[in-house]
């Protein structure tokens, strides 16, 4: 009645699984194999999960595919917040779509749930799907240690440094910061403009940020076997960089600080974000045109950023595997990738698409392309998600509540050991 019933959600998935266990049938383990029977393509309808509000755009972009091949595409739009629920239910019941969009942050759940077909043996037959067509960050070998290929890249996304050139200039800074030291110093200068004015912005929910800092310091957060290893000098340097902005008073401490509003008002004249922020600023503040820009992220040891796109995968046991592969091939075609970019503004994953005039005419896209070449995906494991949440919460606790740094980090390392042991 008055409050809602979260327990129900937690109970639901196990209940589904439990019911399956009781019934003695094992979800998707039964549904594997198959998928190879040839069939007249005119009768084939592919069900595709598309996340967020891209469903209608997807329908539009695949029209030429259906016209060419006779394969119908039925799009099911799934809000980002519901993806986990839908995935859990589909994995437990063994009933999924034929093709699904997989945000890189959720790839681990898909793979560990056994939801995706390994298509490493098929890539050679489809020229557009060859791994060398895409940035190395999303090559199957970079994503999965076991040599499998569960997905193919579809949408590219990365984080770059946004800066307000007008405000920087006023403060006597003529070029955006290119190194860690410069951004710390510039942020401090800009924060000195007055009360409510900051130099930089750290989203408190941005779990990948401390990870990119660790990469930029020349380290990594997992070892060769997928164990989380952050008791390292690189991570400590990343933590110092992260906490330094707070110590300098260069960043807002309010968790509900709105980055688009803050960038437009000038309260946060520098921040690291994705191409969607550029779209938001252009739409909400067209008069700022020419007063802001983007550049690759400041480097410590290097300028590694986050690769945060979406891939496409084929559901394990799909009866239309061949048709699904054809759709994947079509979506990875540089021409389709360009049409997806012009329709939605989302960046291509195929490197060749960046040479199309539709993309080269926007100077910011060149920056994104540069940064994509120097980007990495987060480790693909659900264990990592728990570790990442712990890292973020520890750093925020130190920065915001004044928790003791040394003992907090020590406790964090212990938590990570416990997570590794799971």
């Amino acid at each position: 009645m008055i409050m809602n019933k979260p327990i129900a959600r937690v109970l639901l998935a196990p209940a589904v699984a439990g019911a399956l266990l009781l019934a003695g049938c094992g979800g998707s383990s039964e549904a594997t194999g198959g998928g190879q029977t040839p069939e007249p393509k005119e009768d084939v309808t592919l069900t595709v999960w598309v996340m967020g509000d891209s469903g209608t755009n997807f329908e539009k972009v695949v029209q030429p595919f259906t016209a060419d091949t006779g394969i119908d595409v039925k799009v099911e739009a799934i809000p980002w917040d519901n993806v986990n629920d839908r995935l859990t239910t589909a994995v437990a019941s063994g009933k999924g779509p034929d093709v699904t969009q997989v945000g890189l942050s959720l790839l681990a759940s898909y793979v560990e749930g056994g939801a995706l077909e390994d298509i490493s043996g098929n890539l050679a037959s489809y020229p557009n799907l060859a791994p060398e067509n895409f940035p190395e960050a999303v090559a199957p070998a970079s994503l999965h240690a076991d040599g499998a290929a569960y997905t193919v890249p579809w949408v590219g996304d990365t984080r770059v440094l946004f800066y307000r050139s007008d405000i920087l200039e006023e403060a006597g800074i003529d070029a955006p910061p290119a190194t860690w030291d410069e951004i710390r110093a510039d942020a401090k200068t800009l924060a000195a403009r007055g009360k409510g004015q900051f130099g930089y912005y750290i989203p408190q929910w941005d779990a990948p940020l401390p990870v990119s800092y660790t990469w930029q310091a020349g380290g990594d957060v997992v070892d060769g076997e997928g164990k989380v290893t952050i008791d390292t000098d690189a991570f400590r340097a990343a933590a110092d960089h992260y906490l330094g902005f707070y110590a300098d008073g260069s960043v807002p401490t309010a968790g509900d600080f709105d980055q688009a509003a803050g960038f437009i008002s000038g309260a946060a004249p520098m921040l690291v974000s994705g191409p969607y922020l550029a779209a938001a600023v252009r739409e909400q503040a067209p008069d700022l045109d020419g007063k802001w820009g983007v550049t690759t992220v400041p480097s410590g040891d290097n300028d590694m950023s986050l690769f945060a796109g979406s891939n496409l995968g084929i559901w394990k046991g799909s009866e239309h595997k061949d048709a699904a592969l054809e759709l994947l091939d079509f979506m990875a075609d540089p021409a389709t990738q360009v049409s997806w970019f012009t329709t939605t503004g989302e960046l291509p994953a195929a490197t060749a698409a960046f040479e199309d005039p539709a993309l080269t005419k926007d100077p910011m896209v060149a920056v994104y392309a540069d940064q994509l070449a120097s980007s990495r995906a987060l480790p693909i494991s659900t264990r990592w998600d728990a570790a990442n949440a712990a890292i973020l919460e520890t750093l925020n606790a130190i920065a915001l509540t004044g928790a003791d740094k040394d003992s907090s980090l020590k406790a964090l390392y212990a938590t990570i050991e416990e997570i590794n042991a799971r």
Binding site: A8, D85, D256
Partner: protein, 351 residues
Amino acid sequence: MTSDGRAAGRPPGGAAVLAARGADVHQERESVSRAGRGRWSLLRPGAPGRQTRRRTGPWGRRRAGATPYLFIAPACLLLALFGILPILVAAVVSTTDLDIGGLGDPSTIRFLGLDNYERLFSDPKFWQALRTTTLFVVLGVPVIIALSLTIAVGLNVSTSRLFTVLRAFYFLPAITAIVAVALVWGYLYNSQFGLLNQGLALVGLGPVGWLSDPNTARVSVAVVAIWRATGLNVIIFLAALQAIPQDYHDAAALDGAGRWATFRFVTFPLLRFALFFVTVTTLIGWLQFFDEPYVLTKGGPVGATTSVSLFIFQNGFSFNQFGYASAGSIILFILIAAVTAVQLRLRGSDD
């Protein structure tokens, strides 16, 4: 688009909705028909059955004996299917390491015995969530009861059109979608451009981190929950107030009782049943506190508003540890059952 199916469009019949609230729903039904009027037969569901048995109908003694059970069979079946079974399943799951891999391939599920519970009790995050929930209960329950009773008494003064409108006004938050509530309150609370801080700035007071200061955020989130939950309880109290026969007030007036004395010695005691109902349901609601922190703060800043329910949700659905989350939900279930049992016992003794 409605991005938040979790909070808003949750189907009321979801498999385990009744799981931890079986008792709650049962009481709700009872009270709707009885609030403020008569004895609760909460613990005596067999009472009407016995009566029917004595009055042997045209179908003879044996048939009449079975009839009442036939009538309650659908309800019992549903309760067993959607209430008791999921609890049992969760109890089983809580002894395993079920994660998403286990859902896909059950052969990977390992039996852990009570390991999940052991881990739970040594998890500082769980204890923090428990403390946070306790704080919310201590903060929320008395305030809601006092506030809704006060408003109900006020609204009961007159039945004029103005008061009818006011009644609707107080009920409005209860029927507003949580997503809309989150959006509007989020804007009010925003530390950058929120109305509250703008107002404070007018009188020269510094910005307050309504949702970003850990201690303030707890209060802010609780205020929204109080605001949302008051309406329904006002209606319950109002119904109970209006069910008090005028005779009692007349008698009190004849005895020379003033307004306060009438309320204290006539009205208030007659509200005992409504008061009990509101206390039980509100307490259960706050023990399961979830919606407001989920939509407003996602449990932050730095875990300050993470209730036990949110803790369970995060472990289950963000970190895919269904076994661990199930252990948490079983503990919460036991906690709620215990608190409710204590209330029923206390209630029984003052009868």
